[in-house]
Amino acid sequence: MGVDQHREIQELIDVLKRNNLAELEYERDGFRIYVKREAGPGQAAAARDSVPAGLERHAERLADSGPADTVGKVTITSPIVGTFYRSPSPDADPYVEEGDVVKKGQVLCVVEAMKLMNEIESEVDGRIVKILAESTKPVEFGQPLFLIDPAPAP
């Protein structure tokens, strides 16, 4: 890289910064440069944002669940594909409610697959902050089911 091109790149970056641009592409005489700034604070998100659709869906579900901050929380996801049930049978009480304190290994729900009831257990001690799936509805692999605020280690 010649001194000139080096200077040219610096100039472009200066242009980018001064004008708070996200991306800049420049081409001349076979010389091509593409500059993109990281999304930092106070910056618009890059246009080529590609959160996978599935994870977006989950993110939306989390967002729908209100202002609850997920930082430090544990998300229990479905390990299989099936139908989510909050109680062992239609007439029974739900395994857990929001706000309940749960123990590690405690059954939180069942996911029915191929007529088999698969009990999903809590991975931690803690308190149920939010139930993220709707009873009797299908859930896919990796879909968040519960948000748990883990109890501080004893």
């Binding site: 080529r48 590609s50 996978p52 659709a53 599935g54 994870l55 299989i80 594909v81 099936g82 139908t83 697959a113 191929m114 299908p138 896919e140 692999f141 990796g142 879909q143």
Partner: protein, 449 residues
């Protein structure tokens, strides 16, 4: 007709099936692993279900999750594509038992052709010309030696449970046999979990010729011409064409008749491919049946006009074949190039971000691919990223079109086998149709000289 079908696959074949369903007015359910969340087959389907993590054993081959996905979405049938669960007799059986239609052969059909030595034994007994070989699995070194002497050297040792060229070994002389037999058993055991091996005569310069068949649920069978898949590297097909330059009308009728007999003998259902080895003297020998739709099915579609995936679906839905053998017309010539995300010299996989993907277009050019600009080739699955298919009035036109289309195809960001295909289509022997399964190794050997 089905109202909703789940496609238990990914990549180009999943998209291929979704396209056929859309044209038939059938709703589609895609399944995907978590690395494929944004894949084109997922976006193309009406519904989609994540069925596991990247490892295919836990996702695309995960029978409980695949069937649960069918259950929760209310899909009435499952199309398995090729690979993954396509030739899993247990999966087909479970589908049958829970009332989800498996779009493919019966579980018995799959099981029969899953054991190659046994299939050959059954069919040989019914007058089908099979490769001279051991009657079945070889139990001992002495059995192997006896069989090899009867067949005559060279012979090839194959795994009973093998496929795709893995676990094969050529033996030229008697004194090499015992050692090769032991090694083949060990390899078969570690690769397929089954140490069974058998022997066949080994031919020099043979052609790989296969016949596409369709069989409806009432047992009516039609053959749809042959495909010449002799351009292979380590038994992996790279270029396919139809008709074969080595097959004339008489041989086509004969080999088609035999293929039809093979599938009738086992009450085969749905689409299948009967593979033959064709020697230099125009003798052909049954090798095996691929009990699924194959990667190279499009070349047959191009010359027959028949949409094989739609036929699979119609047959599975119980419709009789709408045409008879005499209605099948083969028009023109077609080639397929398998474009893999591989370094074209060493064939090492080359996954990554495809920064630019511009398929060729125009008359006689077809592209089957689930890629587009900014797609990612994930390292977890097979490296096939596009099938480039051309059709022309004759072999020359179809070849010229392929050269033109390869030249137009732009894939940036990863390496592909396109340069190798260009070499093949510029080779004088290939152009004359003088090909055999040894062609590609020889072409590549030229590099090292």
């Amino acid at each position: 007709m089905f109202k909703k079908i789940l496609i238990a696959n990914r990549g180009e074949i999943a998209l291929r099936v979704i396209r056929a369903c859309k044209e038939l007015g059938i709703r589609t359910v895609a399944i995907h692993s978590d690395v494929d969340t944004n894949a084109m087959h997922v976006r193309a389907a009406d519904e989609h279900v994540c069925i596991g993590p990247a490892e295919d054993a836990l996702s695309y081959r995960n029978i409980p999750n695949v069937l649960s996905a069918a259950e929760v979405t209310g899909a009435e049938a499952i199309h398995p594509g090729y690979g993954f669960l396509a030739e899993n007799a247990h999966f087909a059986e479970v589908c049958e038992s829970i009332g989800v239609k498996f779009i493919g052969p019966t579980s018995e059909n799959i099981a029969v052709f899953g054991d190659k030595a046994k299939a050959r034994e059954i069919l040989g007994g019914r007058g089908i010309p099979v490769l001279p070989g051991s009657p079945g699995e070889l139990r001992s070194e002495s059995e192997a030696l006896e069989a090899a002497r009867k067949i005559g050297f060279p012979v090839i040792i194959k795994a009973c449970a093998g496929g795709g060229g893995r676990g094969m070994r050529v033996v030229n002389k008697e004194e090499e046999l015992v050692r090769a037999f032991q090694a083949a058993q060990t390899e078969a055991k570690s690769t397929f979990g089954n140490e069974g091996v058998y022997l066949e005569r080994y031919f020099l310069e043979p052609r790989h010729i296969e016949v596409q068949v369709l069989a409806d649920e009432r047992g009516r069978v039609v053959s749809l011409g042959e495909r010449d898949c002799s351009i292979q590297r380590r038994y992996q097909k790279l270029v396919e064409e139809t008709p074969s330059p080595a097959v004339d009308d008489r041989l086509r009728r004969e080999i088609g008749r035999v293929a039809t007999e093979v599938v009738k003998a086992v009450h085969y259902r749905n689409a299948g491919t009967v593979e033959f080895l064709l020697d230099k003297d125009q003798n052909f020998y049954f090798m095996e049946v691929n009990a699924r739709i194959q990667v190279e099915h499009p070349v047959t579609e191009m010359v027959t006009g028949i949409d094989l995936i739609k036929e699979q679906i119609r047959i599975a839905a119980g419709f009789p074949l709408a045409f008879r053998q005499q209605d099948v017309r083969l028009t023109g010539h077609s080639f397929e190039c398998r474009i893999n995300a591989e370094c074209p010299e060493k064939f090492t996989p080359c996954p990554g971000l495809v920064t630019r993907f511009r398929p060729p277009g125009g008359f006689g050019v077809r592209v089957d691919s689930a890629m587009e600009s900014q797609s990612t080739v994930v390292p977890n699955y097979d490296s096939l990223i596009a099938k480039l298919i051309t059709h022309g009035q004759n072999r020359e036109e179809a070849m010229a079109r392929m050269r033109r289309a390869l030249d137009e195809f732009v894939i940036e960001g990863i390496k592909t086998t396109i340069p190798l295909h260009v070499r093949i289509f510029n080779d004088a022997e290939f152009q004359k149709g003088r090909i055999s399964t040894g062609f590609l190794e020889r072409l590549l050997a030229h590099d090292s000289v």
